[in-house]
Amino acid sequence: MKTRTIRVDYMARVEGEAALTVRLKGDEVVGVELRIFEPPRLFEALLRGRSCFEAPDITARICGICPVAYQMTACAAVESALGVEVPADIRTLRRLLYCGEWIESHLLHMIMLHAPDFLGVDDAIAMAKLHPERVRAGLRMKKAGNAIVTALGGREVHPVNVRIGGFYKAPSRSDLEALLPELRWARDAAADTIDWMGGFEFPAVDHPYDFVALRHPEEYPLCEGRIVSTSGLDIDVRDYDSRFVESQVAYSHALQTTLDGKSIFCGPLARFHHNFERLPAVARIAAERVGLRPPCTNPYKSILVRGVEVLFALDEAIRIIENVSSPRLPFIQAPGRAGTGFGCTEAPRGILYHRYTIDDEATIADAKIVPPTSQNQRSIEDDLARIGKALAALPLAEARARAERVVRNYDPCISCATHFLDLRFEIVA
């Protein structure tokens, strides 16, 4: 049997390290393996023996792109174990902080990593020569998101101001109000960016994914909600482990998640699917202007949905700041007690789940962390399997570029999932 192996050592414009192998026999795809070889950092193990109060700062280090997501989820889980419920004003400030991360993370992906695919260029720097005003606006919007994280958290990457029970120091009203002019500019710029991206050419792909996201009774979900799926799942966060299963495959350092044995799809498309009516009018109108409404099952259009979510996050941040009053206390004291707690929040890339068991000295006895990219891993493999035949017919460089595009639709954060991409096609002739 003749075998042709096409190998790509690293995948560009994804955050982390992974490899992809597509095995073809004639026209048939006989196997797809997304091999994540990001070195394992063993967070779930190194958390054992640490204080539960350290969980937000330690787990932030899983991902430099979405540290707030880790901090918010760790807080939710530890606070559920300790039986603490934070007051409404602290909850609102957490939502504001999370909006900041969504804005900067989504813009990083949309403008610097994803848009170059639609424009046929290598990177944002090359794009800046073709569309200087778009790149400049994208960077300026991103900066507005970073400014929220910095104002509330002290710095963009690994903010220092988040703690179990709230914040170390409450922001002043004037510090937050100072953000408003730039956020209002960014809200208009985001609507304009969505219109521009609406003119991109989107490959016609449609697949009945099982979208999994949080759903909240009134809000577009960030920090809380029930876990729902297109297949009819509707569960409390504490029941996550009874339905979602993580398993290890020989070729990858990242664990793979399934729901009832099947692949799932989380992230912007899934949130949009389950929560469209909870978007503010400004975001719904912008979506409909580019023909976007649920069900949207074209993963290439995730760039548009990210745009809509940026618009939502900017609008939400403005609304929060306009109505904010500095909390009476920046945090509430959490009493030490033994127990198990569960947290699930919407990271920019999809649902992030944490579970901690804590002993009566506030020490973590057991930790489980499931990042969005490991939940999407199977779905990425499914998408690649579906285009396997087409890939086989393409010249090498084109096949590689096309496979990379499929992966980038998911904005995979591979640092998270093992906590990169060597792309390999094995064509079995």
């Binding site: 690293y10 995948m11 560009a12 414009r13 994804v14 955050e15 982390g16 390290e17 990001e38 070195p39 394992p40 950092r41 063993l42 779930e44 193990a45 190194l46 640490r50 204080s51 350290e54 700062d57 330690i58 280090r61 899983i62 991902c63 430099g64 792109i65 540290p67 900067e104 990083l108 610097m112 990593l113 290598d122 990177d123 944002a124 720097i125 090359a126 800046a128 790149v135 400049r136 960077l139 991103k142 970073n146 002290g154 710095r155 963009e156 990457v157 690994h158 220092v160 101001n161 170390y168 120091k169 398993s247 290890q248 020989a250 350092h253 664990l255 570029a401 990379e404 640092s415 990169f420």
Partner: protein
């Protein structure tokens, strides 16, 4: 016009946060791109040009046999190597595995540890190859990162503060969190660079920039203990984000878990 600096950005075991700091330089990014030839930066661009490189920025620590070989290759094809961040400079949080329980830790995360090809330790880049400059922080400070790039563009040594967080804090005019509120703070023994961020946010410094030059860790630890901080928490403070930096490792291990 002077020749552009040919830059490569490499990633080892890390969270991507330090290289992201480069992408977070929204105002400076396009200007920086004018003076620098970004020849390899996988997180930002599909364009890849071969070495040798004038400057390699290295993020992350060495945790796999493959990476131990790859860093040798990086050194061979780079005129200057600069480590960015706590992982590359001091092993990172993942170096907590070095404290004796690696096989057990692997079993906690993976049902089939035999599929995992990793080392029992997480080690800084300087343990493997000669490093020309180490930039501290978890994550690095982006202004400092820009200073490093500018310095290497002009062939000079980066001009960065070498004192402690405590000195930065005093310059900022903060009220001392330890004196006023009894909050344990690693500021006196931690390398400057963040601008005393944590005390400014009314919490104690947790040492994410690693030890300052000649840090007096023992008297500080005695002070924590005298204030009623349990030995276990003193150990946790030193053994966290820079656990294999000598001064922090020694002090941390002097206190019982």
């Amino acid at each position: 016009m002077a020749r552009k600096l040919k830059l490569a950005v490499w990633k080892f075991a890390s969270c991507d946060g330090c290289q992201l700091s480069l992408l977070d330089c929204e105002d400076e990014l396009l200007a920086v791109a004018d003076g620098i030839d970004i020849a390899l930066f996988r997180e930002a661009t599909s364009a890849v040009r071969k070495g040798p490189y004038d400057l390699s920025l290295v993020e992350g620590s060495i945790t796999t046999p493959g990476d131990a070989e790859r860093i040798q290759h990086v050194r061979r094809i780079s005129k200057k190597v600069v480590t960015i961040g706590a992982c590359a400079t001091a092993g990172g949080i993942q170096a907590l595995r070095n404290f004796g329980k690696y096989p057990e830790m692997l079993r906690v995360v993976y049902a089939r540890p035999e599929f995992i090809d990793a080392l029992a330790t997480s080690t800084p880049i300087a343990d493997h190859v000669a490093v020309d400059f180490e930039l501290r922080g978890c994550p690095v400070n982006k202004q400092q990162l820009l200073e490093v790039l500018k310095a290497f563009m002009h062939g000079r040594t980066p001009s960065l503060p070498a004192d402690s967080v405590c000195i930065e804090c005093k310059r900022r005019g903060n009220v001392c969190v330890m004196v006023a509120r009894g909050t344990p703070c690693l500021g006196p023994v931690t390398h400057a660079g963040c601008g005393a961020l944590c005390p400014t946010y009314e919490r104690g410094c947790y040492g994410c920039y690693g030890p300052s030059d000649a840090p007096e860790t023992a008297p500080l630890a005695r002070r924590f203990l005298a204030q009623g901080v349990p030995a276990r928490d003193v150990r946790r403070l030193f053994l966290a984000f820079n656990p294999v930096a000598d001064a922090f490792r020694t002090e941390g291990m002097a206190h019982e878990d």
